[in-house]
């Protein structure tokens, strides 16, 4: 497989990450302060115009990348690693008799049940109850997105748990815990890893949706969802630039995250066969 074919799909995402990391060094204005007259349409000075309080939309959009993406990254990391370990433990133990088996089966049911409520609803309730801090937002999202990773890993673990090399590892004197992490996990983590780019995309969408609904981080923090929400009333007055640019940024971010799936798939598949 050519390098281009492998890494090509990830290019937009890598670009996005670079913008999120270093963009703030390049922006023309402070994203959280009033820098000009309000409601200026896009011009040479303000490529994306200014919003109703006079802040520069371009600077805010680029600064927002860091905020939205950092949260999404943390959430994805926690949901994926936590999901893999829990899926591993549940999958290995749920068929046993005795207390471990009961807990495993119960946890399995709980994971299935957690599907019932849409992610956004849980986000609204948790943030509504615990306040819109980065911590509560991240925890809420990680909780929402972990069950799917658990489920994916668990399904794979159930396939792997009867493989012969596990018995061979037992005959080699390895403890059950060591066998789980040395043999079962590497052979069952692929679905969750491939899914992590989707998790990333969803966490961006949900956090932005919460921001849009006004339950996310408070202004003047430049979060894309909140920016779109503030700009809605502007749209009706014909001022399209305040909400269009963050909305487009959102769509692009999520689309590039989805595209990374192709690269992830090719990477993990390649690792299994060399």
């Amino acid at each position: 497989m050519t390098r281009l074919r492998l890494w090509g799909p990830a290019a937009p995402f890598i670009l996005l990450v670079l913008i999120a990391a270093f963009g703030v060094l390049l922006i023309p204005f402070d994203p959280e302060r009033v820098v000009a007259a309000s409601n200026l349409p896009p011009s040479a000075d303000h490529w994306f115009g200014t919003d109703s309080t006079g802040m520069d939309v371009l600077s805010r959009t680029i600064a927002g990348a860091r905020i939205n993406l950092t949260m999404a990254l943390i959430v994805t990391a926690v949901a994926t690693s936590g999901g893999m370990v829990l899926g591993l433990v549940i999958g290995m133990n749920e068929a046993q008799r005795g207390p471990l088996g009961i807990v495993g089966r119960g946890a399995s049911r709980a994971v299935d049940l957690s599907d019932a409520v849409p992610a956004l609803i849980v986000g609204i309730v948790v943030v509504g109850l615990f306040g819109p801090s980065v911590a509560s937002l991240s925890i809420a999202l990680a909780l929402i997105l972990m069950p799917n990773q658990i489920r994916l890993t668990r399904a794979e673990v159930l396939k792997v748990r009867h493989d012969g090399y596990l018995n061979a590892a037992r005959m080699a004197g390895l403890s059950e815990v060591r066998i789980m992490f040395r043999h079962v996990l590497p052979n069952s983590c692929r679905p969750a890893l491939e899914n992590s780019s989707l998790v990333f995309g969803i966490s961006i969408i949900v956090s932005a949706s919460l921001g849009f609904l006004g339950v996310g981080l408070a202004p003047p923090i430049p979060e894309w969802g909140a920016m779109v929400s503030e700009g809605v009333s502007d749209v009706m007055l014909g001022r399209w630039w305040t909400s269009l640019f963050p909305a487009l940024a959102l769509c692009l971010a999520v689309a590039s995250a989805a595209a990374v799936t192709a690269t992830l798939t090719r990477l993990t598949r390649g690792a299994a066969s060399h």
């Binding site: 009867h162 493989d163 012969g164 090399y165 018995n167 061979a168 590892a169 037992r170 005959m171 080699a172 004197g173 390895l174 403890s175 043999h183 590497p186 052979n187 690792a271 299994a272």
Partner: protein, 277 residues
């Protein structure tokens, strides 16, 4: 525990029974069986699929827990032995188990070297050049090329993989080896050579062998005693030659008959008589 290569080891199953299933659907795989294998045995366990022979062999090495009865290694209950690390090491260095080669006999992501070196490292603490020497020695006995060690499992043939499975078990120098259907999946031509290797190894090094299989001829070749299982019971046991030539249980008779008929059919189908069958 020091490794005494002349130690006599006895693995004894008493009144052992294995049941599966829930309250509504209970299935008994092994029905209250007594069985012993020692480091001086060469005993075969034959029976059809579902006779309980595989379950019995797994219980003997602790991979399955009996529903009732006990299994002891030189008097020590293996359930307790396997509970802690020292006991596990003692047991696994004395008794090893090899199963039929399948697509999942080896971790597909790790090399064959990793598979063979791991028991040596975990059970005997041997690494480095001493480990390399021992591994090469056992590979040579099993007629394997050490250069294949760096390959992945799917890159070698089924026959070679089965030998590597044996290598993995034998590298720690067990006193008893339990083989479960180790030649059943191999081509007939390959079966013969693996059986020969196995028989020579166990006889030359005084290793006790339990050979579990549904193939009578192969089992008869490598064993001195024979045990016949059916529906979880042991229906006959005795010297191999005696069981084969003078069976006492009607089921054994049927089993032998089936083999003879198959062999005759095979030979006459191959014979160039021109008769349609």
């Amino acid at each position: 525990m020091s490794w005494n290569s002349d130690a006599y080891i006895s693995l004894l199953a008493q009144g052992v029974r294995k049941e599966y299933g829930s309250r509504s659907a209970r299935f008994t795989a092994v029905e209250t069986v007594d069985f012993e294998i020692t480091s001086a045995s060469a005993i075969g366990v034959v029976g059809e699929s579902g006779s309980g022979k595989s379950t019995l062999s797994k219980m003997l090495v602790g991979l399955e827990r009996p529903t009732s009865g006990r299994i002891t290694l030189n008097g020590a209950n293996i359930a307790q032995l396997l509970h802690f690390r020292g006991g596990r090491q003692d047991m696994r260095t004395s008794v090893q188990y090899v199963a039929q080669d399948t697509a999942s006999s080896f971790d597909p992501r790790r090399t064959l070297r990793d598979a063979v070196a791991t028991p040596l490292r975990t059970l005997r603490g041997i690494t480095g050049s001493e480990a390399e020497d021992r591994i090469e020695a056992v590979l040579r006995v099993l007629m394997l090329d050490p250069r294949q060690l760096d390959r992945l499992p799917h890159e070698v043939s089924g026959g070679q993989r089965q030998r590597f499975s044996l290598a993995r078990a034998l590298v720690v120098g067990p006193r008893i080896l339990i083989c479960d259907e180790v030649v059943s999946a191999l081509d007939v031509s390959v079966q013969g050579s693996v059986l020969n290797t196995l028989k020579d190894y166990c006889e030359n090094r005084d290793v006790g062998l339990a050979f579990v299989s549904h193939g009578l001829p192969a089992t008869a070749f490598v064993t001195k005693e024979l045990v016949v299982m059916r529906h979880g019971h042991i229906v006959e046991r005795g010297e191999t030659s005696q069981v084969i030539n003078a069976p006492s249980h009607p089921y054994t008779v049927t089993l032998l008959e089936a083999y003879r008929r198959r062999r005759t059919a095979a030979t006459s189908a191959a014979a160039p008589t021109g008769h349609a069958r």
